[in-house]
Amino acid sequence: MSDQVTLTIDGKEVTVPRGTKVIEAAKQVGVEIPHFCYHPGLPVDGNCRMCIADVRTWNARAEKHFPARRPAVTCWTDAEENMQVFTDTDEVKKSRATVMEFLLINHPIDCPICDKAGECMLQDHYMQHDGKRSELREEKIHKPRLKPFGERIVYNGERCILCSRCTRFTAHVSKTHDLGIVNRGDRAVVELAQGSTFDNAYTDNVSDICPVGALTKTDFRFKKRVWFLKHTDSVCGGCSRNCNTVVDHDRAEIVRIMPRRRDEVNGHFMCNEGRDIYKSLAATVRTSAPISRVDELGAGPSWDDALAWAGGKLGEQKKGGKLAVIGSPWMSNEEALVLGHLAGKVCKSAWMDIKNDVIEGYPADDLLHTDDHNPNRAGVIAAGVVPGKKDGKDLAAIQEAIAAGEVEVLLVWGTGLANHYDSVEAMHEAVAKVPVVIQLTDAMDALSEVAQLVLPVRNWAERDGTWTNFEGHTSRFRKALRPHGQARDGFELLSAMCTAAGGKPPVKTFKDARKKLKQDPDSDVREVADGEFAFYKGQSLYRHHSGTTEV
């Protein structure tokens, strides 16, 4: 038996690996089969009956196709050689309309007050496959409507269509077994397991995968109608997993962060801490313009003056002075490329290493969390921010040199230098021995209080770039928010510093940087998320259809 099978779906031929479900094979030829309970990241349950299609298997002996005895659900049916699948016959359409009718009779249809409205599969499928008035003349069934599942999730039993996605998530993905369906028939509801507080790190995913508004997040409830949100592809910097995300924002404010499907990085899901990372972003203290503590520049220098001064200080080091450069695992790969060039090639300094910006965070687990709470250590090292081969000094050696008073100019990217000293005072004491400390940062920290020059750069939500995770997969994040004050893009700023220091930047454009880094072209790939497929493609109503521009 060959490992590949060829079948036709609505007359379109497709070859897929044996064992592929028909619903997935259909996606490959652009045929969307509507579904609720099926989710590519979960085991198949086959209970919603929405994905029924006319599946005809080939009988080699009789030399003809036979329809299934009972109509087949395509989420469970394996693609077979010479199979014929029809998804748009009248019978199939009737079947979908029927399932929609059954799903809606006891659904409260309270879309005007439902947070899921606008990204609800029930709404979408109703518009696409049903569109009829309700024939129900009886009272709808009533269930609990405001049931907290832990701190972060609220359950509405009446909206629930009992697809069991959430229970399968807790059973098979988070493996915490928090949720289950109790009672039978139309009295069934999702319940929290006795004694469970539903406080694990992945609870919010059940709201994302909920096809209706049954599970909503306390963090997002009643905050914003989803059709007012702009969506920008981003990457979570909470740990070195680099979960691909969508930043949902409105004007200058991030409202929520949702996971974005990327199979080799994070699959379909992300952790709660990653979703909350935008809150810490809003809480950081930032400067909107360069700050200086040197007399020749004055307290609030212009960018031009500040750059010229910094370039001059860096350029001097070519004449044999002592320059140390401390990068950050929060830099993008492109920035790291330019910083490495600036330090190593333009200024000829071999004293270069990266620090550990964030040392505290949630513990690693075997699902997504890693033990490195910085996003891009692997990428920054790969891009060349490493001690030089000849006479190179790593971070510990640089610290010794600082203590010995050997360093004349210290260039630091980002925050957290104090992490490498016993205390903030010890760090202040050490850097006081360095005549010129230049800090490029997106947030103010202890070093910003003493540095001779602080240059504000844009944070991850305000700039374009790529990060490479601990497994070597590169992911692209894009500019979502307007930059804070005069904060400048790191890539552009470092390129300008190369010029100011009397050299040339390694590449001209961001695109060239990506080429030079030989980046995985897949880092821009957006895999088709569940429910994202066809119907409303291009319309702003639909989730994940962000209008981000290609660089």
Partner: protein, 460 residues
């Protein structure tokens, strides 16, 4: 054809004892030749190989007695040639279909024939373990089966190395918690594994992936008990009764306004008219036959005219637009409100739907509410067509056949007795009001009566 009637008393296949005597202890079973078949088969004298016995069961034409009528021998042959683990036999004793109470008689009156059937079936399919999954409400049956299994172990008819043959067979009696859906074979398997009884999506079928993931054969009590006879007397002997496609004898549990309701074993193909007149003694005086549900509540209802044409076999039932089902014969007398009867049935299906598949979860409740409204006189003229449409939509769209089992009677009640439904709507009330004493009056959505017998007290 007189010769087609099974001989009464000890020569019957399943009820081979004097009714009313203490027929269940091992001692009584041994006087009827009990365990002699198991002894001769296990010692290797009777059949050359397990495959031989499977062949005999195939040749006997025995069809599964649970309701679907799938040939038992054929089912056994679906077991994989190279099984992924120890093969399991599961005896489905979750007899919950309204109107069906035949397995109960086997388990209460003749439990050892079932156990011997388990041993023989296990030998045939090369299994060493058998589960008997008994409906939770069948407390007397559970008690009697447990006692019988204990007796059989003590006497060496079960356990390791039975009769020194080297063959091991363990029988475990497992009580359900009283759910109709656990009579569906994969629902039963889930329940047996300790999970919520919800049918599994198929394929894989239990023969490949069954209880605890092992290859599993699920058979009805009556089928397994009949295997004892077939192994003993051979296929031809079993085929002396019944028709070409419906061989052997079958138990029918007759309820309703007949003089002698009860469980009767007759040959397949026995006319219903004769069953009613001879075995059951005819209808109660002054009550005429109105309708018949021939095979348990899930099968389509037929009117009196058709009922009297039915022979009790699969083909004749199909010719008369119904199904033989499990053999739960519900006789309905003149004066019974068919809308109320349907309402009662649908309340059962609504209550028992496991809630997994959308059409069944939402549909069973919806049609019950519509029928209740018709019965209460609150319906409008379009409601009958609406009811039919919804029932039709439920059909064939679910994992198991519970939705079909609710849809078929609904559709057939409307087809056969549409005038009664219309009368309810025209008169704005039930035309049959107050024909029953209060305790039988099921109107108004009240809960089922709590059983007076403390042994049954946990029935809600």
């Amino acid at each position: 054809m007189e010769s087609n009637y099974p001989v009464k008393g000890k020569d019957q296949v399943l009820l081979n004892f004097e009714r009313g005597t203490e027929s269940w202890p091992l001692s009584s079973y041994l006087t009827r030749g009990g365990y002699s078949t198991a002894k001769s088969v296990l010692s290797g004298g009777k059949y050359d190989s397990p495959a031989d016995l499977v062949g005999v069961v195939k040749a006997s034409g025995l069809r599964g007695r649970g309701g679907a009528g799938f040939p038992t021998g054929l089912k056994w042959s679906f077991l994989p040639k190279e099984p992924s683990g120890p093969i399991q036999l599961v005896v489905n004793a979750d007899e919950s279909e309204p109107g069906t109470f035949k397995d109960r008689v086997i388990m209460e009156e003749n439990p050892h024939q079932l156990i011997e059937g388990c041993v023989l079936s296990c030998w045939a399919i090369e299994s060493a373990s058998c589960y008997i999954y008994i409906r939770g409400e069948y407390v007397p049956a559970i008690k009697r089966m447990v006692a019988a299994v204990d007796e059989a172990y003590a006497a060496g008819h079960l356990g390791e190395d039975i009769y020194g043959s080297g063959f091991t067979c363990h029988v475990t009696v497992h009580s359900g918690a009283g759910a109709y859906i656990c009579g569906e074979e994969t629902g039963l398997i889930e329940s047996l594994e300790g999970k919520k009884g919800q049918p599994r999506i198929k394929p894989p079928f239990p023969a490949v992936y069954g209880v605890f993931g092992y290859p599993t054969i699920v058979n009805n009590v009556e089928s397994i008990a009949a295997v004892t006879y077939i192994a003993h007397a051979g296929a031809d002997s079993y085929r002396q009764w019944g028709t070409e496609k419906s061989a052997g004898t079958k138990l029918f549990s007759v309820s309703g306004p007949v003089k002698r309701p009860g469980v009767y074993e007759v040959a397949m193909g026995y006319p219903f008219k004769d069953l009613l007149e001879n075995e059951c003694g005819g209808m109660l005086d002054g009550v005429a036959l109105k309708a018949l549900i021939v095979g348990g509540s899930s099968v389509p209802v037929v009117n009196a005219e058709k009922a009297l044409k039915i022979n009790m076999d699969y083909e004749s039932c199909a010719e008369n637009d119904t199904l033989l089902g499990s053999g739960g014969v519900i006789v309905i007398g003149e004066g019974t409100c068919m809308v109320r009867t349907l309402m009662t049935l649908l309340r059962f299906y609504h209550h028992e739907s496991c809630g997994q598949c959308t059409p069944c979860r939402e549909g069973t409740g919806w049609i019950e509410r519509i029928v209740t409204r018709i019965e209460n006189g609150d319906a409008r003229s379009g409601d009958i067509d609406e009811l039919y449409r919804i029932a039709d939509n439920m059909e064939l769209r679910t994992i198991c056949t519970l939705a079909d089992a609710a849809a078929w009677p609904t559709k057939s009640f409307i087809e056969v007795f549409r005038d009664e439904f219309e009368a309810h709507i025209e008169q704005g009330k039930c035309p049959h009001d107050n024909q029953f004493p209060d305790h039988l009056n099921l109107r108004g959505g009240g809960k089922p009566q709590r059983h007076a017998d403390p042994e049954h007290a946990f029935i809600a």
